[in-house]
């Protein structure tokens, strides 16, 4: 098996749930980032607390890495099962580190061209401070194999174990060194082809040149964007894979002045957020499909009463409880049409960690500008896979805050007179019309508290003042006023057409949405014969990539133009029914030549896409 991008190296750490696979893997990734590498990770774990095989992949290189991949250069095994499960994925010339006490068939490894590196892992761990430190030993060994300095790993170990006290830190540092030295003693790294030499220009803080790039996943990026964008209220009920967003904001609530509420259920979470949004806060809820299902009624409420609200939905394997810790893109059409009746909503589907950050603040601008619920669709892979991003991606200066037609106190004073001039009966001659009919559908919005801006809202159909009304003409106009906001959003250019990656012209266009972007991008690079694009992207090539990030209101014009330029289109998505393909047919009459769909909960790798294209006879290969 060929790795997707030659210059990136892939390390997989495998073991049982409860062995610290995820935390060690993430620690290793962080050390690599600190060393100045570009990193992408993938965690594969089960919906249980202990037991069962888990693994963690770290891919690192000098060029940006956009996805995990199939091939493994170095396998770190904490259990014999890890060797059995993953040995076939190791590339020729790759290596596997395992405990010398295990029964591992060397001939099998030899036939695969894999170098066996058996070390006294558990014994070294025991000596360093306890069996549980085997994961640290193996990280030290990995560093030695890959010719990595130990400094970054040591700094990560120091930090990660700090709250467990000095002895634990020291034990783990000893474990690190023990693994490192064991490999060196054995000379096991000699001529190992997949070393990670320090990049020439880039270098981490250990090297004192410039800060290492931030390493984070989509949930944390979204949270940062939301905080920078003024989000100060979050209500949620824990649900994988959205929990880390909620927990992150909660952990930083005091420091940032954010109010966080662990609600009694998802219905309470979203209705609390609606209350907060009504009162004038930028309010967020975070959930996954099952929780979103419970929020559907209140989503429609927000649409009807025109209260801004952001709903972050991280998709996981469905239907129902499904595969709670795995990735899928199964909720596109559901979130688009959720709730009875028709009302404006915005749906964004960030494809990368960078876009997740942007969605963090942009979603609130759109929610307040169009006074409606905004759904941000993520998925388990985007929500929990760490990736290094350029410094610029989290630059706060790029964050814009736009509250649209939210009326300030001064606006209200200007329109209705200053409050101290308001005497009993404290009512303006022409009372404030919360739902005033306007050309663009947007009614200037006062938040409750100003003496002249007293109003009530109702989920029943209502008139301009908010009073319940069944009047036929008012109904028609109010429906049109609300829906007009979507046209305004399109007319303002607030919704972006699909993003093109790769050459402007190509024989083959992959069409994606959400986190599938990463694998598709790497697939496109492989098809075009370069591991990562140089500054001068050629005008034409074998393949390119069209990614839809702004789903609703659907930017018909740019989308149709982009689709019209597609020669052979292949929609790549992680679901069974081909939801994006259906959606594009519905909205743009577009039908692709082929579809690649995966629905086993495991994210697509670049190689999966190439293989599927090959199977469909869509690659012109020798």
């Amino acid at each position: 098996m060929q790795t997707s991008t030659r210059s990136a190296v892939s390390i997989v750490l495998g073991g049982d749930a409860g062995q610290g696979v995820e935390s060690s893997g993430a620690g290793f990734a962080r050390a690599l980032a600190r060393a100045g590498f570009q990193v992408a990770t993938r965690a594969d774990y089960r919906s249980r607390i202990r037991g069962g095989h888990n693994f963690y992949q770290v891919r690192a290189g000098i060029q940006p890495v956009h996805s995990h991949s199939r091939g493994i250069h170095l396998l770190l095994a904490l259990t014999p099962e890890t060797v059995a499960v993953h040995q076939n994925e190791i590339v020729p010339g790759g290596a596997v580190i395992f405990d010398e006490g295990w029964q591992v068939d060397p001939s099998r490894l030899a036939s695969l061209g894999v170098r066996p590196v058996s070390l006294p892992l558990s014994q070294l761990a025991e000596t360093a401070g306890g069996k549980v430190m085997a994961n640290t030993v193996v990280l030290g060994a990995a560093a030695a194999m890959m010719a990595l300095p130990l400094d970054p790993l040591m700094s990560v170990v120091e930090e990660n174990f700090a709250r467990k006290g000095r002895p634990v830190v020291d034990g783990n540092l000893a474990a690190l060194r023990a693994g490192y030295e064991a490999v060196q003693r054995k000379g096991a790294a000699a001529e190992f082809p997949y070393t990670l030499d320090l990049p020439p220009a880039a270098a981490g803080p250990g090297n004192g040149r410039r800060p290492s790039p931030p390493l984070l996943h989509g949930n944390h990026a979204f949270a940062l964007g939301a905080l920078a964008g003024g989000c100060r209220f979050v209500a949620a009920y824990p649900m994988t894979p959205a929990t880390s967003l909620f927990e992150y904001l909660t952990a930083h609530a005091e420091e940032t002045g954010l109010v966080s509420k662990h609600a009694e259920d998802e219905i309470a979470a979203i209705t609390m957020a609606a209350g907060a949004g009504f009162a004038g806060a930028r309010a967020l809820v975070a959930t996954s499909g099952g929780g979103f299902s419970l929020m559907v009624e209140a989503l429609g409420m927000a649409g009807m009463v025109e209260v801004p609200l952001v709903v972050f939905v991280s998709q996981r394997g469905g239907p129902s409880t499904g595969l709670p810790t795995r990735s899928e893109q199964g909720d596109l059409l559901f979130t688009l049409f959720a709730s009875q009746g028709e009302f404006p909503r915005v749906v964004l589907a960030p494809a990368t960690v960078e876009q997740a950050f942007e969605a963090g603040w942009r979603s609130f601008n759109l929610a307040e500008k169009y006074q409606c619920p905004v759904i941000v669709l993520s998925d388990e892979y985007l929500s929990s896979s760490l990736r290094t991003v350029p410094e610029e991606a989290l630059n706060r200066q790029r964050v814009k805050i736009d509250r649209g037609a939210t009326l300030t106190w001064e606006d209200m004073d200007r329109i209705y007179g200053a409050p101290d001039s308001v005497s009993a009966p404290a009512r303006p001659a022409a009372p404030y019309r919360r739902f005033a009919f306007t050309e663009n559908g947007i009614s200037p919005r006062a938040v409750p508290g100003h003496p002249a801006g007293v109003y009530a809202i109702s989920t029943d159909e209502h008139d301009e003042w908010g009073h319940i009304s069944e009047d036929q003409e008012n109904r028609t106009r109010m429906m049109e006023k609300r829906m007009r906001k979507l046209e305004t959003a399109l007319a303002c250019g607030d919704m972006r057409g699909p993003e093109l990656y790769g050459p402007a012209q190509a024989d083959l266009t992959l069409i994606t949405w959400g986190s599938t972007y990463g694998a598709a991008r790497e697939a496109v690079d492989l098809l075009n014969g370069h591991s990562a694009p140089g500054p001068g992207q050629p005008e034409a090539g074998v393949a390119n990539l069209l990614t839809f990030t702004d789903i609703w209101p659907f930017p018909v014009e740019p989308a149709s133009q982009a689709l019209a330029a597609v020669r052979r289109g292949v929609v790549v998505e992680q679901n069974y029914t081909g939801q994006l393909a259906r959606f594009l047919r519905m909205m743009a009459g577009y039908q692709p030549q082929a579809s690649i769909r995966k629905y086993d909960g495991r994210p697509l790798a670049p190689e999966d896409i190439l293989e599927a294209l090959r199977e469909r006879g869509m690659l012109h290969e020798g």
């Binding site: 800060p211 931030p214 930083h252 940032t256 002045g257 806060a281 409750p448 508290g449 003496p451």
Partner: protein, 321 residues
């Protein structure tokens, strides 16, 4: 903060918007004297003549005037039902939300702007039926919300099905042989679940009701006011007369609402005699709002959206390196 949350009767304000003002805090208006007339709405109630909801509407207005809370300083949050239309018939801020969901909506409002007084006004179906889970959990929180339940022991707006407070054996279209469930006794349930103020009012005695509502608003924390509200159209059993024969005022018996033992007995009483008035009051509990870390620097909506210091932001980013 705890005091902030209690800033009632003050000029109120629109802190959400101050967020957009460079000048920061704005002086409270020297408010006019709050009168009944200030609450008058152009909307005419659509309730049946004789409906108990009229008295509740009036009692709320009375209480607000008594406490000098102006229309812009209060938000009435309701659900869906006959009684939940009340905010439409009153000139004040309001949010007529979803069936069963006014409590979490009110929670959200309080959590970002504790300078607004928040009243929840809903039906027995809202509060004890579909909204039961919120009812349960709100009791544990002691948010400063005044919860007025228009308890007519029936689903009225949907034309007469039995409700969680309907007596066992009560015949309706969905209980043709009589309700098979034991009724919810709201006062007892709230007591058990942790409420710090529990009262019962009767729509047939609007003055008494107004005084109870005022006491509930005054109470620093969650206050349940279950109101016996005759539905003259669909509930032919629990009529004005039925209630009148049974109710008695606890204050006339010398009841001290702060006597937990005595209250424990009163919240259980439902039968030939039904106590009305303030049954229970516990001043010792802090409000939920006063303990929320994110509110330490004042109401969320009173702050600028870009108030996160650059240093804080940089520190947050650095944690990902």
């Amino acid at each position: 903060m705890r005091d902030d949350a209690r800033g009632r009767g003050s000029g109120g304000g629109n802190p959400a918007v101050q967020a957009q003002l460079p000048g920061g805090a704005r002086p409270a208006a020297a408010g006019p004297v709050v009168t009944l007339q200030m609450f008058t709405s152009e909307q005419k109630p659509t309730w049946c003549p004789g409906c108990g909801d009229f008295a509740i509407l009036n009692a709320i207005r009375q209480a607000l005037v008594e406490l000098q809370i102006a229309p812009h300083q209060v938000v009435l949050v309701s659900g869906i039902g006959c009684g939940s239309k009340l905010p439409d018939y009153l000139h004040a801020n309001g949010f007529m939300s979803l069936h069963g969901r006014p409590l979490p909506v009110a929670t959200g409002i309080r959590l970002v702007n504790p300078s607004l007084r928040v009243l929840v006004v809903d039906g027995d179906g809202d509060a004890y039926g579909i909204g039961g889970n919120h009812f349960l959990h709100v009791q544990r929180r002691n948010l400063d919300i005044t919860h007025i339940v228009e308890n007519n022991q029936i689903y009225a707006l949907t034309k007469g099905q039995y409700s969680p407070t309907s007596e066992a054996g009560f015949r309706t279209s969905t209980s043709p042989q009589g309700a098979l469930e034991q009724p919810v006794l709201p006062t007892r349930l709230a007591f058990t679940a942790g409420a710090t103020f529990i009262a019962r009012g009767f729509a047939g005695d609007p003055k008494h009701l107004a005084s109870i509502i005022a006491a509930g608003i005054r109470h620093p924390g969650y206050a349940l006011i279950d109101v016996l509200q005759p539905c003259v159209t669909f509930n032919k059993v629990n009529t004005y007369d039925w209630y009148r024969e049974r109710v008695y005022k606890v204050e006339e018996t010398g009841h001290d609402p702060q006597d937990r033992q005595a209250a424990a007995r009163l919240v259980e009483e439902w039968g030939p005699r039904i106590p009305i008035g303030v049954l229970y009051e516990d001043h010792s509990q802090p409000t939920y709002e006063s303990q929320v870390p994110g509110l330490a620097r004042g109401p969320v909506v009173g702050r600028r959206l870009d108030d996160l210091p650059d240093e804080t932001y940089a520190r947050l980013v650095d944690q990902f390196r």
